[in-house]
């Protein structure tokens, strides 16, 4: 039984048209935790496209969350290009060995064929099921890593970090070939009717400098975004960790939304890029969503909403990053329910009233 008056599609359309809605959209960003809701092992996602699609739907049905996305881990594209991935029985896949160990092997790499290589065909199949199951409820998205991040899994994380200084041209070549893989994949996803979302964690200011980002990541991210635009879609971009010094660069690509992590400030982001860009975020996925109490979740969600609700280009309540697999359901419920309690339109008074109410309850 839905706790909401509108479907995510109706809600999204109403807000975009400036009409009344039931609440703000909210995406707890459940990630592979959806397996816990559907009742399968995470390893089933590696070969069973229906399990991916049905788990996404199970999460929507359980929580009413405003997102359905096909995305299981960061390594799917590098794996399809030759990296070795470790698949635990019931946990998220992990990079075991990069595709190459030395830059002189770069010429051996080929872009992946999304219809043939690795788990990419499983993901495309999952998209078709998800599209079918979710008809009339909401649009679905297809996650992809950005070209720069993919190069780390082709060439090894530590080595690639050092190459940003030692051999930037090698990074450029790895980005070129990763870009081809990304484009082929998102093209297939868009043909099925899913909107791409791009995760670019290695571009974070927590990892590389804004200078390295601008020289070695941004040009390829721009090409990918332009490619998606040319196909009539507009991607959301998520980058983990601190991103304040690159908000403008990414916003200038004309993206559908900037999904920021909990160490980044919604208020600052709003000031800098809010006129052009929807902001999504940024409740702490670890210390609040995973380790906190429902009470902590309510307060932090309200605080994020207070910062973001008046963003000129729109705001989506979200966790700062993908939720840990074992995040308690009651915390996800607490996030969704407090967004429902605020309702729509959101006003500062309403949020402050609820903040006072829940603070008093402490």
């Amino acid at each position: 039984m839905s706790k909401d008056e509108m479907t995510p599609a109706e809600r999204g359309a109403a807000i975009a048209q400036g009409k009344d809605a039931d609440r703000l959209p909210c995406n707890p960003n459940i990630a592979n935790g959806v397996a816990r809701i559907y009742g399968c092992k995470i390893s089933e996602f590696n070969h069973d496209p229906k399990a991916i699609a049905k788990s996404q739907m199970a999460a929507y049905e359980r929580f009413g969350s405003d997102s359905l996305r096909v995305f299981t881990d960061l390594f799917t594209w590098a794996e399809a290009m030759g990296a070795k991935v470790n698949f635990p029985d019931d946990d998220t896949a992990d990079l075991e060995e990069p595709a190459i160990h030395d830059v002189n092997e770069i010429d051996k790499l080929r872009p992946a064929d999304p219809h043939k290589d690795g788990r990419l065909p499983v993901h495309l199949e999952a998209m078709k099921y998800l599209k079918e199951y979710s008809a009339g409820i909401m649009g679905c998205s297809a996650g992809v890593v950005g070209p720069f991040t993919n190069t780390f899994f082709l060439c090894g994380v530590d080595q690639t970090l050092k190459l940003t200084h030692k051999n930037p041209d090698a990074i450029r070549r790895l980005c070129e070939i990763s870009l081809e893989t990304c484009e082929a994949y998102v093209e297939a996803a868009m043909e099925i009717g899913l909107a791409p979302t791009i995760s670019e964690p290695m571009s974070s200011c927590t990892v590389v400098s804004p200078k390295v980002f601008r020289e070695l990541s941004l040009p390829y991210l721009k090409e990918l975004v332009d490619f998606i635009h040319a196909h009539g879609f507009n991607p959301v971009v998520h980058i983990c960790g601190q991103t304040n010094r690159i908000w403008k660069d990414v916003a200038d690509l004309g993206i559908a939304g900037w999904s920021i992590d909990n160490v980044a400030s919604i208020t600052e982001c709003k000031r800098l890029v809010g006129d052009t860009t929807k902001i999504m975020g940024n409740v702490d996925p670890g210390s609040i969503m995973f380790s906190g109490t429902p009470q902590d979740v309510r307060l932090k969600t309200l605080e994020a909403m207070r910062e973001g609700y008046d963003n000129p280009s729109g705001y989506v309540v979200m966790s700062g990053c993908s939720l840990p697999v074992e995040t308690p359901f009651e915390n996800i419920d607490a996030m969704m329910d407090v967004v429902r309690e605020v309702g729509y339109p959101v006003t500062e008074e309403k949020i402050d009233e609820l903040l006072a109410k829940y603070r008093d309850a402490e």
Partner: protein, 217 residues
């Protein structure tokens, strides 16, 4: 002929400036000139690493820069260490560090290791995806006085609590300090599992451990 001060500055600068390929050569020139290896490490290489850490905290240096600086530091250490007068060594205690079982994300662990090493701890790097027993063995067999546990995965966090329990079961819990860190880790979690400390950054980990081990100024 360079003075000792000039060579110490060269050692420090080559770490700070990421000249990892020059470090061993400068360290050798320093030794050849007859200067003290211990000073070369702490007033030269480690000084450079501390300056790099300061730039990292000011967000002028990032992870790649720190990794290359640490390569330079380690290249210099390889040359100077065998020549250190042991009686003069004021090394801090032995610390075992690793990413707990079920997880292989080790960027954070490596940064903590570099910072602790630069501050004078003797580091035993157990690597990543480390079975719980290995941490206990580091205490019982290798004499580690502190263990530093890292993970990015919520599914692996349970191992941190298990390690603390194993230390208790072996009767060595009181002989060792346990510090934890990583994406999903919080102070609350550290308290719940009975760890001694938690820090959010690699640089903080140094003052955290210094405080616990009694090395604070």
């Amino acid at each position: 002929m360079s003075t000792k001060e000039e060579l110490l500055k060269e050692l420090s600068d080559c770490v700070l400036d990421m000249e990892d390929e020059d470090a061993a050569g400068i360290a050798q020139r320093y030794l050849d000139a007859g200067y003290d290896a211990y000073d070369g490490i702490f007033s030269g290489l480690v000084d450079g690493m501390n300056r790099a850490a300061a730039l990292y905290e000011q967000e002028e240096y990032f992870v790649p820069e720190l990794l290359i600086c640490s390569d330079a530091m380690y290249n210099g250490l390889d040359v100077l260490r065998p020549h250190v007068d042991r009686s003069k060594m004021k090394q801090k205690c032995k610390v075992a560090i690793g990413v707990v079982q079920g997880d292989t994300h080790d960027i954070g662990k490596n940064l903590v290791k570099i910072m602790l090493e630069a501050s004078g701890y003797e580091m035993v790097d157990l690597g990543r995806d480390v079975p719980n027993e290995k941490f206990v063995e580091a205490v019982t067999a290798q004499g580690a006085k502190a263990i530093a546990l890292s993970t990015l995965m919520s599914t692996s966090m349970v191992n941190m609590g298990e390690i603390v329990k194993k230390l208790e079961a072996q009767g060595v819990r009181d002989e060792v300090k346990v510090i934890v860190g990583g994406g999903p880790i919080s102070r609350g979690f550290a308290d719940r599992i009975g760890a001694d400390g938690y820090s959010t950054t690699a640089v903080e980990a140094v003052s955290l451990l210094d405080g616990m081990m009694g090395y604070s100024a």
